[in-house]
């Protein structure tokens, strides 16, 4: 039986349908979870997709963290359930306190929509466990606020605990230490700015996102 993956939809999410298609490609059964429901509906994994949840008002993710579904997502994460936040989903997870740090406006103040090269720095996370350590994946970015920042103490902790799971080969947005993705201490919550669901077919220019998405359902 295939795994059920819940894809959270907020008002303003816009990558959920792409993610459902991508889940089918890796043999999982994707289903949408509405932000206003206080449940993760018994799914095996949760993905918070990209978009502009609640219009990104105040700060990206600042209002989404109060959506009723987020308490259920936090509980699911605390019990060890896999949770992945992509782009706006990463911003939501940092605002919700499920991941450390914050995403600021890109260095250079440009909205960036381009392919990016990511190096797999750790395979010890639910997003990278099926990828090859040290491999370079081509996965697109599409964001204005993707400049990862955290204090020096947090950065040292992330490095010491091998929690920087993906780094940009050529840092596009000013992220500290070239960070593209990080995980929590339990390694079951991962956030990244690039969009693996947009690198799932040769027609899209790359299939490298599949290695990441397969990890979620491995």
């Amino acid at each position: 039986m295939s795994l059920r993956v819940g894809v959270v939809v907020f008002p303003g999410s816009n990558c959920e349908q792409d993610m459902l298609e991508a889940m089918a490609l890796v043999g999982a059964e994707g289903e949408l979870l509405w932000h206003g429901d206080e449940t993760t509906n018994g799914v095996d994994a949760v993905i918070i997709p990209g978009g502009f949840a609640h219009g990104d008002y105040l700060r990206p993710g600042a209002i989404a963290r109060f959506s009723p579904v987020m308490a259920a997502v936090a509980e699911f994460a605390a019990s060890g359930g896999p949770v992945v936040g992509i782009c706006n989903g990463f911003q939501v997870l940092t605002e919700a306190g499920l991941l450390p740090g914050a995403l600021q406006k890109n260095r250079g103040l440009k909205f960036l929509c381009a392919p990016a090269e990511l190096r797999v720095e750790s395979t010890d996370s639910i997003l990278t466990r099926s990828a090859e350590a040290g491999s370079v994946l081509q996965v697109p970015i599409n964001h204005f606020e993707g400049n990862y920042t955290c204090d020096a103490e947090t950065l040292a902790q992330l490095r010491d605990e091998d929690r920087i799971v993906l780094r940009y080969v050529d840092n596009p947005n000013g992220s500290v230490d070239d960070i593209a993705g990080v995980c929590n201490a339990g390694r079951n919550v991962v956030g990244l700015m690039p969009h693996p669901e947009r690198a799932t077919s040769e027609l899209l220019g790359s299939t490298d996102g599949l290695a990441l998405l397969r990890s979620i359902v491995a």
């Binding site: 105040l58 600042a62 740090g101 600021q104 250079g108 400049n147 000013g174």
Partner: protein, 90 residues
Amino acid sequence: MIFSVHVEVRLRPGIADPQGSTIEKALPTLGFDGVKGVRVGKSIRFDIDAADESAARAEADDLCRRFLTNPVIEDAVIHVEAGAAAGATS
């Protein structure tokens, strides 16, 4: 009793401010050569119904910490004054 609150949300010292630095770099082209240290923030105003000023301030502090700022990158200066803000419509 009604208190008007003005919250200035600022990036914490040491946090890069690309908007501020872009504005600063543009100023010399307008002839403003002596302007330094431009930082961009947000200004948020609201009214609070509270027993006294310290209660209003405590509530505004809590609201800022939990919602209006992201303490990882921002802090806030909170101004509290007795009376509804001029121009308030509700």
